[in-house]
Amino acid sequence: MIPELGQVALILCLMLALAQMVFGFAGAATNRANWMAVVKPAAIGQMVFATLSFATLVIAFLQDDFTVSYVANNSNTALPTLYKVAAVWGAHEGSLLLWVLVQSGWTCAVALGSGRLPQVFSSRVIATLGFVSVGFLLFILLTSNPFWRMMPGAFEGQDLNPLLQDFGLAVHPPVLYLGYIGFSVAFAFAIATMLGGDLNTQWARWTRPWTTLAWLFLTIGIALGSWWAYYELGWGGWWFWDAVENASFMPWLIGTALIHSLAVTDKRGLFKSWTLLLSILAFSLSLLGTFLVRSGVLVSVHSFASDPERGLYILIFLGVVVCSALLLYALRAHRFDEQGHFDLVSRETALLVNNVLLVSAAFVVLFGTLYPLINEGLGLPKVSVGEPWFNAYFVPLALLLMASLGIGMHTLWRVSNTNSLVRRLRWLAVVAVIAALVLPSLFFGRTAVMTVLGTAAALWVILSTASELWIRYRTNGNVRMPRAMVGMLVAHVGVALCVAGVTYTSAYSDQRDVALKAGESYTLGNYSFELQTVKQVEGPNYVAQEATVGLAYKGKSLGVLKPQKRLYRVQKSPMTESDIHARLSRDVYVALGADLGNGSYSLRLQIKPMVRFIWLGALIMALGGFLALTDRRYYLERRAVEAGSKARTA
């Protein structure tokens, strides 16, 4: 009974989304206030029913209702409760239901938060969001219904994929979705702007906090995914340039570009059409990512199965969304052309350079991800595009980005004095380069070109940020500044830390696979590992071999690590649970491998310097985003906007 309620709620959701879409667009087109008045309650209703529907699926999981085939396929009575909840979005159907829930959440937030926007504009925004919801709701109801019953029900569930039985995965998809789908808000604002054809740039200011919020979630989501892959997939890699990862990285790159170009549009009224295009692109790439992951065109570490019917549906939906948006853009963009002036050395130029580099990087990643598929589709010999290719093309763009970032932060709108800029920055550059030449060899005893470049880039950005504060302090006697600016500086420091982490982990990781018997030890660098015991342990739904490895640094004990090799009872799949001794400066990572017979076991030992900086950097970027979006100017302007638009219509 309860799953059927979920089904009904989902259908009601679809009806409300349709109402939202039809009355929103039609009402705005014909300027009927009573039609437009429908969208807000419809959006709230959609949220209510989406929540209800999602809740029924959670209940089905908690009650072990194995007559629901999705539950039977992804849960088990022995599955811990936390993972029963996480299992709701552990596979295709449920993750789409999560998508719908998150989409309705964003829509509802926009509906409630847009009270002060002109009604015609906000109706179009919500109608566009309704359109996206309709697409996904139909997708669920037609091809991927999580409430499907099977008769007779299963006696026992097939359990959740063991890889997903983990805290990182429990939280990773919701956060990632908040980011992905958040870009639909910027998309909807862009569509509404183009439909309205209003030449002012208020929409840029309205879009900014929403875009930043979506970007913030996506940043955290990607970081969580990387962290999860690092400890759960078991071989200590934090980024694989896997297609599924790229699927989330491309919208992030475009989203980052969008945040920056929105700043120009908001402040200076420039690059309107470019910003609109980026808004469309960011969400299109989110949808493309969904297509890649959900359609099964990729067979990768991360996504195992799907079916072609679903793929076709998403492809068509993607085509409709992207093509109609681009058509609208082609018809309307020229209206947004503007004549503003700025000098060659100015913040506008710096942000343009940022955009060119970020968008190029996104297209490089896109091309590298799609190329093998296109190649295969054309029947050409298969080619693998892996890490070496991505690194070769992405890293130079990233380094250029870092170089221009340090300069860009010190530029002014319209025009900057080149001489004072050079005077300000030249010593910082010298210090960064010298330090980069010296520091790696000082700490690690060896160095390489990439290490020097990475260190220089990170130091350059950090020094540049610091000098911004210093100059402010010297001229004003304090470092007070608007929140948005604080957020900008913080986020850039985050980028620098992330780059530093990537550089040092890549250059100085040490890794060894060894065979040890109980009582034997192995020394790797300054660390020694002693295999003390290996014993059987029982988990709720698995049995495991657990090794106890004593860890010591230069003879001083750091305690024990307990990596496991698990065998999940239902799925019969072996899983490696690594154990990590984590410090900010380095991770010591131990994974247990096979029993080699005669009492010896294989172990993978790794030392990964500064690997935490990668995720820490990402979190600091997200913090920067949070600070920026709490800037009060976004919340003050609304009154002025309202007055302004009234004045215009009068």
Partner: protein, 178 residues
């Protein structure tokens, strides 16, 4: 987005045979949930470093985007053994790659080759970046102004919300909440 296994297909015999079965085979062949921990190390540390590097650049052909170094599939173990033997034989990295590519095609190596059919792949990033900077140049020319020099007032303008600082300051804090 990640890691969804869709086992609904098992209910339907035809779908199962067509899609799930081959996939299941791959999964079984590859056992992708365990990573390889290969205690076979080469005695010479320099060779060992090369061994790891080569292992990470060769693709396990029966797996889902895993290198032979990371995979536990039998094929991967076999390829690793071959790489080890060739290294101990004193063969150069290039020779090993060439040997693998002759046997398994370009697909086996994660670093795509420079060939006529991969020219587009290798040159696209360069094109896209050049195109980007060309667009940038066009935009800069369009917006370039001669007398912009007079417009800026550096100290004020350097703040992120400089243009609005007036509005910000005059606004009453009590009106901050909508």
């Amino acid at each position: 987005m990640k890691n969804k296994i869709d086992r609904k297909n098992r209910l339907d015999g035809r779908t199962f045979a067509m899609f799930t079965l081959p996939l299941l085979l791959i999964v079984l062949l590859c056992a992708p949930l365990t990573q390889a921990i290969d205690a076979q190390t080469l005695n010479d540390p320099v060779l060992q470093i090369r061994y790891v590097a080569i292992g990470k650049e060769l693709r396990c052909l029966v797996c889902q985007n895993q290198s032979i170094y990371d995979s536990n599939a039998e094929l991967a173990q076999d390829l690793r053994r071959q790489v080890r033997e060739m290294l101990e034989d004193g063969r150069a990295d290039d020779e090993i790659y060439r040997y693998m590519i002759e046997r398994y095609g370009d697909y086996v190596r994660y670093r795509p080759p420079w060939r006529v059919n991969t020219l587009l792949l290798q040159l696209f990033p360069v094109f896209i970046a050049l195109f980007g900077f060309w667009m940038l140049w066009g935009t800069l020319r369009k917006h370039r102004s001669v007398n912009a020099m007079k417009a800026g007032s550096p100290e004020l303008e350097n703040s992120e919300s400089a243009q609005d600082s007036g509005a910000d300051d005059t606004a009453n804090t009590s009106t901050e909440r909508r």
